[in-house]
Amino acid sequence: MSVLKITNLHASVDGKEILKGVNLTISEGETIALLGPNGHGKSTLFNVIMGHPKYEVTEGSIFFDDVDLLKLPTDERSKLGLFLGMQLPSEIPGVINADFLKAAVNARREKPISTYNFYKLLDKATKELKMPFDLATRSLNEGFSGGEKKRNEILQLELLEPKIALLDEIDSGLDVDAMQVVADVIKKEQQQGRGFLVISHYARLYDLISPTRAVVMINGRIVVDGGPEVFKRIDQTGYEFIKTELGIEIEKEEQDMNKVSIGSCAVKEAIK
């Protein structure tokens, strides 16, 4: 059974520290709800695990079994069995979805999959996700609706069969029916023993996929690690108890304000 172990992870972007000592372990077969207010480092953690070039790791380690992930490029991390379902998947003009999916499937096979077998696989997976097949023949995510993009992420999860999947707000943009479809696929994948680390702001998805654990990230650290009761409590009462019971002050998300605003005074301000 594979284990992803994150120890004292510090990471920054543009010189600003976002992760300030994250400790978290997730094993295959577990489903962990990753909770926390906006701007406290949840998505950053996912990006750092996958090796996004924008983020700099300044301290700590991430091991996948006995492999030091921080030494590997992004594609190698994926091939080891990690998957990141993105909050805002890139739109890549001209790259045909099916070509991309085939390249991704082939990246983890010694012999390339035959076109016939690939289309059989794709046909089955798109039907399961109730996706129109023509999405496969269009440019990757270009002109896809929010829901279609998210289903396309889950489609990749199915085709790539990772050991541990990181899902970043995979439910945003989904209507009730689509959420059920996505949850059904996740449940099926859970039964096959995959591990999930799931960010969502809504209890609905968690109710459908029944996490085994819930962790809360505040100020760039994991401050609560408990059972499913944690997300139920947060859903009902918010994050206030973190402050009252644990004595942790929740830093407000910084709003980058322009130094000047539009208008005649702003011009003067800019001249200064």
Binding site: M50, G51, H52, P53, K54, P73, T74, D75, R77, S78, K79, L84, M86, P89, S90, I92, P93, G94, V95, I96, D99, F100, A103, A104, A107, R108, S139, Q156, L160
Partner: protein
Amino acid sequence: MEELVVKTDNLILKTGEYRLDNSSVVLNTLNIKIEVNSNCYILLDNLSNIKELNIDILEGSQVKLSMMFDKELNDIKININVYKYSSLEGYIADFSINKLDLNCLVNLKEEGATCYFKLASLSANKDDKNISISVNHLTSKTYGKVDNYGVCKDLGKLLFAGTSFIVNGAVKSKTEQNAKIMVFDEASNAIAKPILKIDENDIEASHAAVVGKINDEHLFYLTSRGISVAEAKELITFGYLKPILVGFNDEKTKEYISSLIERRM
């Protein structure tokens, strides 16, 4: 598709599909006249011997002119006149090597004349390419659009120029120019400068130019699925140049161009 052997420098074509290559042309200037009310597909398959190509598209005709180059070309001049209610669709898949000066001028001479031009060009291995596709709107109700896509790498130089000119009196005309170049390395040199010259008020015109490197987010997205950086770049580039394939009717040429892109990248 009819293979054409040109013995005269004046060719008159009616409705049909035609293919010309170096073996079929002995002269380096070629004049083609498309007769009235014709519907033609003309494939210039690596016609690298030619220096000057003049085409007249007479009234009421539709012409799809597709060019593919993968050899050394040097200079080539293309002049196309489009007459009343005729339309030209032009496609150039340029994978020529070394130095290239390609100058294409489309004159929309009479009312209702339209032109759509699409070009995909690769400049690699110190290639030095100047490509200019210009459209003159010489009378009212003419429509022109030019889309240039380029990839520049390994010390390649690529310049997209071209002027869309609307003369005084060419009312209700519409013109559009787009030039996009993706640059792979700092040592390559890419310039996109689509120019609009407008002498009439009652028209629509727009132009866009983009020169940039591969988007880091796109690269991260693809590599996060296990695709190597090299293959991801290839997919993105392929996606940039591949849309030119719609300009070619026969599968053989399409496959050849696809394989060219793969090989050259």
